[in-house]
Symmetry: C2
Subunit: 224 residues, 2 copies
């Protein structure tokens, strides 16, 4: 049945292409916090008209990656310490919830995937590959969420994680932190295997709490 990939790049509206491009640029720091996003400039740079750019920027605004002031345009979101603490507080609660539900609902297949993600993180440490580290960590947490079977929960936590991506990646540059995270991932896997929600939740709590402290520390140093 020679099912061929007639994808033809599978039509994506330009607004989504622009959206993804800009998001990537923001998350990688190519577009820095505070930088203005001017429609015409971006449109020219990307070779499209203002319309898709506008729509992409609006979408980014709702994701919390840019802030807009009426009649004054958009700029890459400056995350304050207060914002960060708020996001982390909520994220912590949601990820605890996720791991609790995952304990009850995770299938064997999903568990295997999760272990693989944890291993991929270890491998990325060995290869000293920062991008892969970020992706593996992202993936690990995302898999836990997906194991809850709750798409709503997945969507929200993914969004919160995304908002902090820029800061998490700084955290991951720290070699000691990497080792800690790696150990915690493994411990979470172990707790999940035993279906021990209490334990998993506790580990995840400190897992995120540690990151939180480290990121806030970093933010303070940067701002002074």
């Amino acid at each position: 049945m020679n099912e061929f990939h007639v994808d033809m790049n599978e039509y994506l509206p330009l607004r989504d292409v622009v959206f993804k491009t800009l998001r990537q640029a923001i998350l990688t720091g190519e577009l820095q916090p505070g930088e203005r996003l001017m429609e015409i400039t971006l449109a020219n740079r990307l070779g499209v008209s203002r319309t898709p750019v506008r729509e992409a920027i609006h979408k980014l605004e709702q994701e919390g990656l840019v802030i807009m002031m009426p009649r004054r345009g958009a700029q890459v979101a400056q995350i304050t310490e207060k914002d960060l603490i708020e996001v982390l507080e909520v994220r912590l609660g949601l990820e605890e919830m996720a791991v609790r539900f995952a304990c009850e609902r995770m299938t064997d297949g999903q568990f295997t995937e999760l272990c693989q993600a944890a291993d991929e993180f270890s491998a990325a440490i060995d290869r000293d590959d920062l991008t892969a580290l970020a992706q593996a960590d992202e993936n690990f947490h995302s898999l836990i969420c997906r194991a809850t079977g709750n798409d709503c929960l997945c969507g929200i936590t993914n969004n919160l994680r995304e908002q902090m991506y820029r800061y998490r990646i700084e955290h991951l540059k720290n070699h000691d932190a990497r080792k800690n995270l790696d150990g915690e991932h493994k411990a979470i896997c172990a707790a999940l295997e035993k279906r021990n929600a209490e334990e998993a939740q506790a580990i995840l709590y400190s897992h995120i709490e540690n990151q939180q402290q480290s990121i806030i520390q970093m933010l303070k140093e940067k701002s002074k």
Copy 2:
């Protein structure tokens, strides 16, 4: 220093006007689930061009009130039982979190406001005013969130509540349910006054759990 209200209707972009209008129409059921939202039609009806309508629809999509299919337009979101359960599951977790934090952080002024909101709910029962009931209930929960001082948390929970507004209002038509809700509001206030997080959380849990059961019940009846 005669600070006067030179508000002058405080310029709002048309897209936001349209957004609010459409949202209201969806929440009140004027636009029913499944109904198609066609840009030109709406633009004509509202007396604006397609541009603000498009932008409003996109915003509604990200709020979860409409769903879009590329090249096929938007329609008012059909909420399935699965969606509802997911949203309620997350909402429950977040509101528990909120009441816990509110216990620690709520100021006296905020507590007074909360009590007033609870009284307003009671008053709306006496007046048999459905709209006021919905608004008072909304307000009550929103105040608890705001008392956490966490804007991120507020934003997310408000959004989740909004997604269910249409169904909550059905629930509020039930006179027995009203009495229950009213009592629970009062009990939550009492627990918060004692700064008893455990108790407040427990009451809030059943408060939302009850609604959940009732709404799901209703949904099932509707779908058959």
